[in-house]
């Protein structure tokens, strides 16, 4: 694992946001790592720990707790579909189903600890997210950092066409 200089420079700047305790920079550093490498490897955990003067377990326990951090690589485009009540009432589960169909993703093996399913060609990965806070305009989903509201299940294939 090679941390590019500009990434480390960015990290050093972020660390200055926490003058009282460098440990506070664990989440921001992990975000930068995940954004760059797409997931957080064991090597990255050790690197962040060394960078912040922590024990590796103090970083690993953060990675394993937060659903926003991944320990394995997702697809080229990672999709999150809101699962919670208002979206579910508006067709969130149907949206998940049609996105899986359109993206050729098999979700049969997912569970609480392995929530992400990846398409056979590695282009898309998908998971349910809990309430994405746009309840009036469901069903909603995110593709990477893009937010999509009122996505009709039948327009799933059309949505994926934007991500090739």
């Amino acid at each position: 694992m090679q941390i590019p200089t500009e990434l480390e420079t960015k990290m050093d700047e972020v660390i200055t946001h926490y003058p009282v305790s460098k440990r506070s920079a664990v989440l921001p550093l992990l975000h930068l790592i995940q954004h760059h490498f797409r997931f957080i490897s064991d090597e990255a955990v050790n690197w962040v720990a060394a960078k912040l003067g922590l024990e590796p377990i103090q970083v690993l326990e953060v990675v394993t707790f937060y659903p926003g951090f991944r320990q394995t690589a997702p697809g080229k485009f990672h999709i999150r579909v809101c699962r919670t009540l208002s979206c579910a009432m508006a067709g969130g589960y149907e949206l998940m189903e049609s996105l899986c169909k359109a993206g050729n993703i098999d979700r049969s093996h997912v569970d609480h600890h392995h929530p992400i399913a990846i398409s056979t060609d590695g282009k898309y990965s998908i998971e349910f997210a809990e309430c994405l806070a746009s309840c009036g305009f469901g069903p909603v989903c995110m593709v990477e950092d893009d937010f999509h509201e009122s996505v009709k299940p039948e327009s799933a294939a059309e949505l994926l066409q934007k991500y090739l």
Binding site: H17, P28, Y66, G68, F69, L85, A133, C135, F137
Partner: protein, 463 residues
């Protein structure tokens, strides 16, 4: 409020709305830049605040009657007053932008469309409580909002409203954006603080860890919701007396209602607290129920609020008798009706919805989001999900419905933080109010198949 503001077509505020916080949301001629904000009277209140005594600002917020808009409805000025008067440690302020209570979608629009309103409200609040370092804790699922806020903070810094010598005074302040990582529990203020310290967000026990005394880095810390901090600016602008005239006594100001579910036009509506009833929300603001449908249930203040059944009647202590449609959207009446105004997230359900399915959906949310620190919540939330899974699947026996309630009752009041209540109240209220329907989803013939664990263990000579 000016009536000349042009709004985007189809996004005009409803005539019943009273927009303070959302004044610039969906405006046709508005953008999130600092220049646009200043053109519209921005940062004037900050300049005023910097010339005021700190205590005078706190007193104004107290007198305004502002109650926190994040869920608990605790008076903001009183919260600020909890910083020990003898304190010598640094004070921190954190804006809670972890908006994640199911049914709630208001802070997103403030941050996307009018970020400087939040920044100005925060700087004023930081000045009032003598904080020189502040953070905006924003949920990871708002990546765009995080970028917009960082840009807004940089703009404010360039104009001298942040950094050294704020507004040319001797006061220094830094504000940074801190992103969460997808955990609902980070909306709980002590969990949020742990998370900001770089740890798992296990909430702290109160007492002694009231953030105003022992918060971030064990220093006094004020944690306020996005909407609450924006209100501070308007309180200074209007004066506490005029602000307190909005709304109703003890339920002052405006608040943003977020309506979702089975209505014609769901959306967000900023109204004076207590000036519209539930019926007006559904029929006026949201254009009524879907054609041919009847109202079945309402969750009035985010998913953790107890559900209301369409035919319920409430007899209040002051003699009023209210049907569900007569309840004014305020803090106190909602509490008197056995539920809460919470975060302002109103979820409407019509007669096409199965209540077993609804509570199962919520139980899955809480099972996923329990932080796992306290046993009753960690285990109980999962059991509530599993039992309601069975009810939905048609593989439950009638006594499972009471078992579900028993599990919920064993969580409430037995946990470090209020998540215990948040996850048990929905189940308790759904089972209490829709027991017959839920039992109707079970199979009586399965009752005889229930195995008593003691019998099994005895047969294996284990007891």
């Amino acid at each position: 409020m000016s009536t000349t503001i042009p709004y985007k077509p189809g996004k005009e505020p409803h005539a019943r709305e009273h927009r303070l916080i959302f004044r610039n949301v969906d405006r046709a001629d508005y953008d999130p830049s600092i220049d646009c904000y200043i053109r519209n009277g921005g940062y004037v209140q900050l300049k005023k605040a910097l010339g005021m005594e700190r205590q005078a600002i706190i007193d104004e917020v107290k007198k305004s009657g502002l109650r926190g808009r994040g869920g608990a409805g605790f008076p903001t000025g009183v919260k600020w007053g909890f910083i020990p008067p003898t304190n010598t440690k640094p004070v921190y302020l954190i804006c809670n932008a972890d908006e994640s209570e199911p049914g709630t979608f208001k802070d997103r629009y403030i941050m996307h469309q009018d970020p400087h309103q939040l920044v100005e409200g925060m700087i004023i609040s930081c000045f009032a409580v003598k904080a020189q370092l502040a953070y905006i804790y924003i949920r990871e699922e708002f990546p765009e909002a995080a970028i917009i806020l960082e840009k807004a903070l940089a703009e404010a810094r360039a104009k001298g409203y942040l950094g050294k010598n704020v507004g040319g005074t001797a006061y220094d302040l830094e504000i940074y954006v801190h992103r969460g990582a997808g955990a609902y529990i980070c909306g709980e203020e002590t969990g949020l603080i742990e998370s900001l310290e770089g740890k798992r967000p296990y909430p702290r026990i109160k007492p002694p860890y009231f953030p105003a005394a022992l918060g971030l880095y064990m220093s006094p810390t004020i944690v306020n919701n996005v909407e609450s901090l924006c209100h501070v600016k308007h309180i200074l602008e209007m004066g506490s007396e005029a602000y307190a005239k909005l709304g109703t006594p003890n339920n002052t100001g405006t608040r943003i209602l977020c309506v979702s579910g089975d209505v014609q036009k769901p959306g967000y509506f900023e109204v004076q607290v207590g000036h519209v009833t539930m019926g007006e929300v559904i029929n006026d603001l949201c254009g009524g129920l879907k054609p041919g449908r009847k109202l079945k249930a309402i969750i009035p203040g985010g998913s953790s609020a107890k559900v209301l059944r369409a035919d319920e009647k409430f007899k209040l202590k002051d003699g009023r008798e209210l049907g569900i449609m007569d309840i004014p959207m305020d803090f106190d009446t909602m509490a008197a009706c056995g539920t809460m105004a919470g975060s302002g997230g109103v979820i409407i359900m019509d007669d096409s919805r199965s209540m077993s399915w609804v509570i199962n959906n919520l139980n899955q949310f809480y099972a996923h989001e329990s932080c796992g620190q306290c046993t009753p919540c960690r285990e109980g939330s999962l059991w509530m999900k599993k039992i309601s899974d069975r009810i939905v699947a048609g593989t439950a026996s009638p006594s499972d419905v009471d078992e579900l309630l028993r599990v919920a009752n064993n969580i409430e009041g037995k946990t470090i933080c209020a998540f215990g209540e948040a996850c048990s109240w929905p189940t308790q209220s759904f089972v209490k109010k829709f027991r017959d329907e839920m039992i109707g989803d079970t199979k009586p013939e399965l009752e005889s198949k229930i195995v008593n664990p003691e019998t099994v263990l005895a047969a294996a000579n284990l007891v």
